[in-house]
Amino acid sequence: GAGVSQTPSNKVTEKGKYVELRCDPISGHTALYWYRQSLGQGPEFLIYFQGTGAADDSGLPNDRFFAVRPEGSVSTLKIQRTERGDSAVYLCASSLGLAGGDEQYFGPGTRLTVT
């Protein structure tokens, strides 16, 4: 069975450019999460989707960051006017979304480098 996939695996972009990062969750998982991980740190929550709606986007650092999940499956994280400080590994995870907690399945991440 396929796990969570993310594309691209690596993205190098110039400061000020726009980037899109894609996440394909496990089929049937209603919950989808985006995290950002810097070197030597744990994943940092960005946004959570339950179905098509963003249930909590409190982790998005500013209005340059936006994410969508239009059909309740694939999600895209969009970053406008990229800055060097945006460089990190962006992780996507999905889960069944059970009340009371369930395991999250992570993708391999997209390594974003802003030059």
Partner: protein, 113 residues
């Protein structure tokens, strides 16, 4: 302020020994806590979930304890193997009604043959 603390220094042990990793938290009141394993260049992999009303949980060679009074979780790997070498992350939920996890910085475990 809220903090999750895991040993930042790598833990080096010999094969066959028990590895014990610590996760301490401050100013959180999690309903449950999870442990994940992360290998270089990969996403975290779920290992165990323990709820606030559970003292201990086991899965094969893994054991997790959760002390809500001490605000601490211990993660044990018995009969450790070189293949257990990885970074181990603890994560707390924040009682938001969905699984909004806060991760620690992780502890790197190195098991020598």
């Amino acid at each position: 302020s809220q903090k999750i603390e895991q040993n930042s220094e790598a833990l080096n042990i010999q094969e066959g020994k028990t590895a014990t990793l610590t996760c301490n938290y401050t100013n959180y009141s999690p309903a449950y806590l999870q442990w994940y394993r992360q290998d270089p260049g990969r996403g975290p992999v779920f290992l165990l979930l323990i709820r606030e009303n559970e003292k201990e949980k086991r899965k094969e060679r893994l054991k997790v304890t959760f002390d809500t009074t001490l605000k601490q979780s211990l993660f044990h790997i018995t009969a450790s193997q070189p293949a257990d070498s990885a970074t181990y992350l603890c994560a707390l939920d924040q009682r938001t009604g969905f699984q909004k996890l806060v991760f620690g910085t992780g502890t790197r475990l190195l098991v020598s043959p």
